[in-house]
């Protein structure tokens, strides 16, 4: 049984003009539990607030109802007022009699009657309110960035720059990601390595940044501010602390037939390798699948040549447990596999390449030393056909339904650079649409067409057929002239769709972060919270959230970093006390709630219950982590037994409001 005070605000004439405030205060004074009722010109004024405070003290109020403007306006104000008078702030309820009553009704009788009903509903709700206290949790002032591409690097640098420690976990032996494989970048055509490698070096040199290269996240526990992450540091069979990166071993290793994945298999490397000259950390790695020593114990050349004594064939995977306050996902993207696109003959002809392979074929550090040569015979190609949207915007099921966003621009870049360097080469680009909505993007594309004479053809490539003479017959349709084309090409470059890295899906499960059907991470709000995951403390950087080019990625990386910095700069996190709570006596442990929770706030534990006759029953029951729960209430309805309820918006409270309104 509460002792409730009702305070009806005039809001000058905003309310009082169409609502008889005195009548409202009078009527509500007869409601059960109401021991004080008053009306005043401006409840939010200092005098109005004092009226409330005095009444709380004088009448030992346990609940307060304020009939005023929208709670979105002054709920916080009045909660503070109550708190100042020693009442729990969550014992205050607002009846919205301005925006949802006086302002929309002209008839004073109707307005007054409605205001009374809204007040009555608030009184009925307050009867069932309970004092709520927001939980607090400490914040571990350290961030984890998963993925060491440009997104991860930029996020880590920005976080470190603000003074926080940050770890990067990268599954490859070096950080740098896709951007290390690129030659030039659109639309400015500056060299990718020139702008990326300094950042990689910055990472290596910043003492607040620790790089776990050749490592993967294995387990994530905890919640915002308090994550505990287990990182698996894969055995590279080289002691990182001893290896000087001299590269001697990579020259002496007798196993030469290892496909060089950095060059996408276009050439080979040794079993012990450093992916590329500017790798960070610049440490050799033994590829256990090819190393003779590791496979059959016969070799040991690298150990013999290593003056630093860094080779360690007995090295095993290490598991490191670290605590973090925030986690940034920057797992990036990959081009899709083109096996299901038989019409382009990708698997049949080495001269049909993906754009990323083309990137390596034109890179000075690539397999051809930067000279564009056909992979099949090493000859200079004279006709090159670029095919756009290979697997993008594809609703047939073979590819991806979305636009991969970057292909139009990098294809324009490839076409332009090819024409620039080899003016004797004819370049055709087949496209569905050319999409250039970025700064200087359309200008760039037009230069390719107008200045460099690239043949842009709106149309689809139907078939690429390898010919006996080593050329490729490209059959295509020109949709504008509406004719069938047959082009004899030396090379075909496919703009393969990009997709999230395969590691993202299991990672999302570990993080309880949600993903969309394409395995891109979902953001907390598509417009207003684009770099946060719905799961508190998890942030998104780069292409793991959706296809992005470099400037966008860097921008998002910085944004994610600033969100992390904002979080880590707090000493304690104060939760929203209106969170879900599970009554373990009623809980069936059925997991329905967990399935609808967008935040991963619900976990289960096997709990012992004392039963009659001194027996013990063990039941699986749900537990809500109040630091993670955002209070949406999805779980409360998914729960069939009513075990799950939402504090501040409990089943009983809402039903009491319903009852009061329908009375």
């Amino acid at each position: 049984m509460q002792r409730i005070g009702v305070f009806v605000c005039w809001c000058g004439s905003n309310i009082a003009a169409t609502v008889d405030v005195e009548a409202v205060a009078e009527a509500l004074s007869h409601e059960p539990g109401v021991v004080f009722s008053a009306n005043y010109q401006y409840m939010c004024s200092e005098a109005g607030q004092n009226l409330i405070k005095d009444a709380i003290r004088d009448h030992q109020l346990t609940g307060v109802v304020i009939c005023s403007c929208s709670p979105r306006m002054h709920e916080q104000t009045f909660r503070k007022t109550a708190a100042a008078a020693g009442l729990n702030p969550y014992m205050v309820e607002i009846a919205n009699i301005r925006e949802q009553c006086s302002w929309i009704h002209k008839d004073k009788a109707a307005g007054t009657e409605k205001a009374i009903i809204l007040g009555r509903a608030a009184v009925a709700k307050v009867h069932l309110n309970a004092p709520l206290v927001a939980g607090e949790s400490p914040v571990t002032k350290r961030a984890l960035v998963i993925g060491g591409g440009i997104a991860g690097i930029q996020t880590a640098l920005d976080i470190a720059d603000a003074g926080f420690e940050v770890d990067i976990v990268e599954k490859e032996p070096t950080i740098g990601g896709k951007m290390t494989q690129l030659d030039k970048t659109f639309p400015t055509l500056d060299c990718a390595a020139c702008i990326l490698t300094p950042k990689m070096v910055d990472c290596a040199q910043d003492e607040r940044i620790h790089i776990y290269a050749y490592s993967e996240v294995e387990k994530v526990e905890g919640f915002v501010g308090n994550f505990t992450v287990t990182i698996k540091k894969k055995a590279r069979f080289v002691d990182e602390t001893k290896c000087t990166g001299c590269g001697l071993c990579t020259e002496k290793c007798p196993q030469k037939k290892v496909p060089n994945l950095f060059n996408l298999g276009l050439d080979t490397r040794r079993a012990i390798y450093i992916p590329f000259a500017q790798a960070v950390p610049k440490v050799a790695t033994i590829d256990a699948d090819y190393c003779n020593m590791l496979k059959n114990g016969k070799c040991g050349v690298c150990a013999k040549v290593c003056t630093a004594g860094a080779i360690d064939y007995k090295q095993t995977d290490q598991h490191i447990e670290e605590k973090y306050g925030a986690i940034v996902v920057a797992t990036g993207y990959n081009p899709i596999k083109l096996d299901s696109f038989e019409e382009y003959a990708y698997a049949q002809s080495p001269d049909v390449v993906t754009s990323l392979e083309f990137e390596r074929l034109t890179n000075a550090a690539g397999p051809t030393g930067g000279t564009l040569l056909r992979p099949s015979d090493g000859k200079h190609p004279h006709t090159i056909v670029f095919v756009q949207c290979v697997g993008s915007r594809d609703t047939s099921g073979c590819g991806k339904p979305y636009c991969s966003k970057i292909c139009c621009m990098y294809t324009a870049k490839h076409a332009m650079l090819t024409r620039d360097k080899y003016p004797d080469t004819e370049v055709y680009v087949f496209y569905i649409d050319v999409r250039t909505p970025g700064k200087n993007f359309d200008e760039f594309y037009r230069r390719a067409v107008e200045e460099y004479g690239v043949h842009y053809i709106k149309g689809m490539v139907g078939k690429v057929a390898p010919q006996a003479d080593g050329t490729l017959m490209v059959q295509a349709s020109d949709l504008i002239s509406n004719e069938q084309l047959h082009i004899s090409a030396d090379m075909v470059v496919l703009a393969a769709a990009i997709e999230p890295d395969k590691s993202a899906r299991p990672l999302a499960t570990m993080l309880t972060a949600s993903m969309d059907t394409n395995d891109f991470f979902t953001e907390a709000h598509p417009k207003l919270r684009p770099v946060e995951s719905p799961t508190a403390g998890i942030f998104l950087s780069g292409a793991c959230q959706g296809p992005k080019d470099i400037p966008e990625t860097v921008a998002q990386a910085g944004a994610a970093a600033s969100k992390v910095i904002g979080l880590l700069s707090k000493n304690k996190l104060t939760g929203n006390p209106c969170v879900a709570r599970s009554d373990e006596m009623l809980c069936n442990g059925c997991s329905s709630c967990e399935k609808v929770c967008p935040y991963g706030a619900i976990s289960y534990e096997d709990k012992e219950f004392r039963m009659p006759n001194r027996t013990v029953a063990i039941r699986r029951v749900a537990k809500v982590n109040p630091a993670v729960c955002q209070g949406c209430g999805a779980c409360t309805v998914a729960c069939p037994s009513g075990a799950m309820d939402l504090l501040g918006f409990s089943n009983r409270q809402i039903m009491a409001e319903v009852d009061a309104i329908c009375k």
Partner: protein, 146 residues
């Protein structure tokens, strides 16, 4: 449809805090009129609305119940309204199956910017329910005023 002149229906509107309740506030700020028969209950998200609440409203004398939430895809909690949409679709279909007038229940997505839509929706819903008249099929006679 017949018009029930003089009949004042009782309408309960559940509005999610982030979009529809704000949309209702905007309707108020813009002084857009809709009948006083509509009484709004604020819930954090449309997914907080339990079918029990809707039945409870009918039991206690509501003539119509409307649930308003963020547009699909815009949920403050990302996915709440998707679940609400499934739940309400099935519930409404069941009510219809039991012969309860389907027009007495409705779901509308109203954003915080759609004050005009909010008022229009309420005007339309009130007139629909008014035309239907008193809720007889899902009433609890004990709760009738006497």
């Amino acid at each position: 449809m017949q018009v029930n002149e003089g009949f004042k229906p009782t309408i309960v509107a559940f509005c999610c805090n982030w979009c529809s309740y704000a949309g209702a506030d905007l309707a108020g700020t813009n002084r857009l009129q809709y009948p006083a028969d509509v009484k709004i209950i604020r819930v954090p998200c449309s997914c907080r609305v339990n079918p029990l609440f809707i039945l409870r409203a009918f039991q206690r004398g509501a003539d119509g119940v409307i649930l308003c939430g963020c547009h699909p895809g815009d949920c403050h909690y990302t996915t709440g309204n998707y679940y609400a949409r499934r739940r309400m679709t099935l519930l409404f279909s069941m009510l219809d199956y039991l012969g309860i007038e389907r027009e007495r229940t409705r779901v509308e997505w109203v954003s915080a910017a759609e004050g005009v839509k909010f008022a229009a929706t309420m005007n339309d819903f009130v007139s629909t329910v008014t035309a239907l008249g008193e809720n007889k099929r899902l009433e609890d006679l004990r709760c009738k005023a006497n």
